[in-house]
């Protein structure tokens, strides 16, 4: 295999386009990168990437693993704060989560705490049982998509 050592690759036909194998990689503007999807459409790499995720033990409390999470706080039963390392660009980001409780068939649901909402630096989640009672969730699995600052 031959190795090309360089800092910048510029497309020959179009400066912003290169192709790796048969995968077009396009950077049409600053901080924008798209690649060919499974079919023929292009898809945004930055927009498609999760910007944060966490696997939280909400009972004994601790972050088992995470991405772009500076810390998490246990603010009460079924009440957790997730603090980003690198903040989001705005409060219009998306995401979701799921989890359970103990080893039995106890269902838990999670959502964004209305009283705190989404901020660029953190968001507060609440977890509860199916009867509407606040309850710890273990594990608490959460993903965040959107624009980084």
């Amino acid at each position: 295999m031959s190795t090309l050592v360089t800092n910048t690759i510029t497309g020959l036909s179009t400066a912003a386009n290169i192709t790796i194998g048969s995968t077009p990689v396009v950077s049409a503007s600053a901080n924008s990168l798209t690649i060919r999807g499974e079919g023929s459409a292009q898809t945004s790499v930055q927009q498609g990437l999760l910007k944060a995720w966490s696997n939280l033990d909400g009972s004994s409390f601790g972050v088992n693993d995470s991405f772009n999470l500076a810390s998490a706080t246990d603010d009460g039963t079924g009440d957790y704060g997730l603090n980003f390392s690198n903040n989001m660009a705005n409060t219009n980001y998306s995401g979701g989560g799921l989890g359970g409780h103990d080893s039995g068939s106890y269902t838990r649901i999670q959502g964004v705490d209305h009283d705190h909402g989404l901020t660029t630096a953190q968001f507060q989640i609440n977890t509860q049982d199916t009867n509407g009672n606040a309850g710890d969730m273990e594990p608490t699995l959460t993903v965040v998509a959107g624009d980084l600052a």
């Binding site: 999807g37 499974e38 990437l49 959502g111 998509a145």
Partner: protein, 146 residues
């Protein structure tokens, strides 16, 4: 072989529509294309509904109270994609009464779950599961693009 190596990390695009990257440990490879979300929304589903932000969504239709149709811009390859849903809480305290799920037809028929659209329904689980509009409805979509 069609690869790009950056500091020991290898992007391999030898197969059409597939871009793999060596993993965090370097021991495995992960599929960048498959790992990307192909769509996501942050929707205000109350009043005149409005997308606060989104990826690869051409629009959301307010079908009726608590019921929405999401139109994907560049369609998925099939109906076997995955979604994760998130909701905002209700005013005051730790109240998660509004819950959103995917909406199927009767008898577990997912005929309205297509490559180009999917439907959502939001219910108030604290009020006999009546259909209600949700002020914060988030959905991420993973799977293969057409």
């Amino acid at each position: 072989m069609s690869v790009l190596e950056l500091n020991g990390r290898i992007f391999d695009a030898s197969t059409t529509g597939t871009l793999t990257l060596t993993s965090e440990s370097g021991a495995a490879t992960t599929d960048v294309t498959q790992g990307l979300n192909k769509a996501w929304i942050n929707l205000n589903g109350t009043g005149t509904i409005a997308l606060r932000d989104s990826l690869n969504v051409s629009g959301v239709t307010d079908v009726s109270q608590g019921k929405y149709t999401v139109a994907i811009n560049n369609d998925m390859a099939d109906v076997n994609y995955a979604t994760v849903v998130g909701n905002g809480g209700y005013n005051g305290g730790q109240d998660l009464r509004f819950q959103t799920g995917l909406l199927g037809n009767d008898n577990h028929d997912w005929g309205n779950y297509t490559a180009g659209t999917f439907q959502l329904q939001t219910k108030n689980v604290a009020n006999d599961s009546t259909m209600e509009d949700g002020s914060l409805i988030c959905v991420t979509v993973s799977g293969s693009l057409a």
